[in-house]
Amino acid sequence: MTTVAFLDFVRGPLFQIAVAIFFAGLFIRFVEILVLGRKTDFSEPRQSGTGAGFKTVFSRSVPEAGTFKRSAFTIIAGYVFHIGLFVALVFLAPHIALVRDTTGLSWPNLPTPVVDFATVAAIGALVAILVNRMRDKVLRFLTGFEDYVAWTATFLPLLTGYMAFHHLLLRYELMLALHILSVELLLVVFPFTKLMHTFTLFLSRWYTGSAFGRKGVQS
């Protein structure tokens, strides 16, 4: 198979399969969670939990003061990684072009140097997070196989994307094919690993925020 044929295969049928698995997986996971439901709470509420629930969905993105002091590295590296990944994923011109071509939706991209900076920052943060995971007593203890799978599946698209964009190491078409392949790996493992937190955290924050809120505790 030639490089070009490989690229066509990867961004053609393989991509469609990966996207299909991704959405089907998301659907299954959400159904698995939501069908379990939650029992009616008969206790007399101090206030409605709805407002507090919505507030918690957002406010949990801001660390509690004492926690920030105790876990500054985890929190800062986490922010840098998430923001960097978001910028690279959403504001890189070719990514927007891909979405435009498939859905017709489009939005302005950010200049290449900005996206570049965000990507490098995200890659750097991920490496730092991995090193910290291996040396911190608690994190080393908690970390299992799945954590490394999730890390790898997130790291590879960032790395190969950066290298493809800058024509590093391999021929562009091959690196691009590897980038798309790594994204497909990410899409396939996503629904079945803790990468799902991307979406389920909103449910979690809502459940906790509303339950605490009706007790009069903004969590």
Binding site: V35, R38, R70, W206, V217
Partner: protein, 424 residues
């Protein structure tokens, strides 16, 4: 699979709802909860990381409620819940968790970890993996009516003492009273000041209240050991007595878990709303204050601080009331660092105080409180939970810290303006 493991698994399954499933789907092992937990912080033992304490529940969730887990279970690849696992996790589920809920406040994905540990206890106790101390307390609560084995006779004796000392009459089983006052056995046994304070404050405020000979014990060992069946039985006794007397409000005493049990868990245990309101004594006192019915005179000379019981503040929403009340009688009031919603647990809530094997651990955990106290150097420490109070007194003594501990209701009674004392 063994029978005990099977019992635990079935009980876990009953506890797993949409929230638990969302929580366990969301955890990325960031480790922040470890640093929010006093048992981890004070020991440095990573096994005490809150989310790790949930491994048995997590395994059941994964293998029963996720597609991959179910497939893994089919081919025998899912991690198993065994008797060995449960035995190992008993310590983590009980001794090393006071259900204080700090972890639930810091989790960036929003997991109520403490709430899940409470749920995990349901499976642990069902399969027999709970500490003897808590089993004994629960058995006594069900059979005798109080976890410390206190009977109505002891309460009646205390009523006699209080009536003698104050000249007031303590109403018992009074139909149609506005308030039904409950006590914790700790108060009946160790802190008789509580009943006296209530009698004096309520008499002065002209409040219609009563004790019930059928339901005087507010603490709920069922909540602590994690057995809904026991918790339901205990709370049902209070509900029956309150609804028979026709009271408007039932008052939880200065006890954290009693409040959680009565105020938030009770209606769900009996499967319907109450026909009365459930309030903590501090909420009632603050209402009396606002209505001008609680009048005090004079101020404490000393520097004082307030220890927020976890179940009142973080898990119960009683945050401002104690501070408003304290400021009525204390001029030099100072809050400890992280007081309020993020206050550090005393180290012995959630049933830990009843677990003999946790004796050493709970004193190690007290070091969190010690540092908080050292930061503000109070002359006296006020709290509103008899269980916290015992632990605080023990911890302070162990650390040679000379700081007396006092209940807030009692402190207010010391400053009560008494006009109608002539009754007796």
């Amino acid at each position: 699979m063994t029978d005990r493991a099977k019992i635990a698994i079935n009980a876990f399954k009953e506890q797993i709802d949409g929230a638990v499933s969302a929580y366990l789907s969301s955890c990325v092992h960031c480790g922040l909860c470890a640093h929010a937990c006093l048992f981890f912080n004070e020991t440095g033992d990573p096994r005490y990381t809150p989310i790790h304490k949930l491994e048995p529940l997590r395994r059941v969730w994964w293998s029963e409620y996720t597609l991959f887990g179910k497939l893994a279970l089919l081919v025998g690849l899912a991690p198993k819940v065994t008797e060995e696992l449960l035995a190992e996790w008993q310590e983590l589920t009980y001794n090393a968790c006071s259900l204080c809920g700090r972890c639930s406040m810091v989790c960036p994905v929003g997991n109520d970890i403490a709430g899940m540990i409470r749920k995990q206890r349901e499976g642990m106790v069902a399969a027999g993996y709970s500490p003897d101390g808590l089993k004994g307390a629960s058995t006594r609560a069900v059979k005798i009516g109080s976890p410390m084995g206190v009977t109505w006779k002891a309460v009646a004796a205390q009523i006699g003492h209080v009536e003698n000392d104050t000249g007031l009459q303590i109403p018992v089983d009074k139909d149609g009273a506005d308030y039904l006052v409950l006590m914790s056995s700790m108060e009946i046994m160790n802190y008789p000041e509580y009943l006296e304070a209530i009698a004096r404050i309520f008499s002065e405020a002209g409040v219609s209240w009563t004790l019930s000979s059928q339901a005087f014990e507010a603490t709920n060992s069922g909540i602590q050991i994690g057995s809904s069946d026991i918790a339901r039985e205990l709370v049902s006794r209070i509900v029956a007595a309150a609804e028979k007397l026709g009271v408007k409000t039932v008052i939880s005493p200065e006890c954290g878990h009693a409040y959680t049990a009565l105020r938030w868990d009770g209606p769900n245990l009996i499967g319907r709303p109450y026909k009365f309101k459930a309030r903590h004594i501090l909420e009632v006192l603050d209402e009396l204050r606002a209505a001008g019915k609680l009048k005090t005179e004079g101020f404490e000379e000393e520097r004082m601080t307030f220890h927020d019981p976890c179940q009142l503040v973080r898990r119960g929403g009683v945050l401002e009331q104690p501070r408003r009340l304290v400021k009525m009688v204390v001029k030099d009031f100072v809050d400890m660092p992280e007081a309020g919603k993020m206050n550090w647990c005393c180290g012995a809530g959630g049933g830990v105080s009843a677990i003999e094997e946790a004796g050493e651990l709970k004193l190690t955990a007290f070091n969190a409180k010690k540092r908080q106290l050292e930061a503000v150097k109070p002359d006296k420490l006020i709290t509103a939970c008899a269980n916290c109070r015992i632990q605080l007194e023990e911890g302070l003594e162990e650390n040679n810290m000379d700081i007396p501990v006092i209940g807030l209701t009692e402190l207010l009674a010391e400053h009560l303006v008494e006009t109608g004392k002539a009754e007796g």
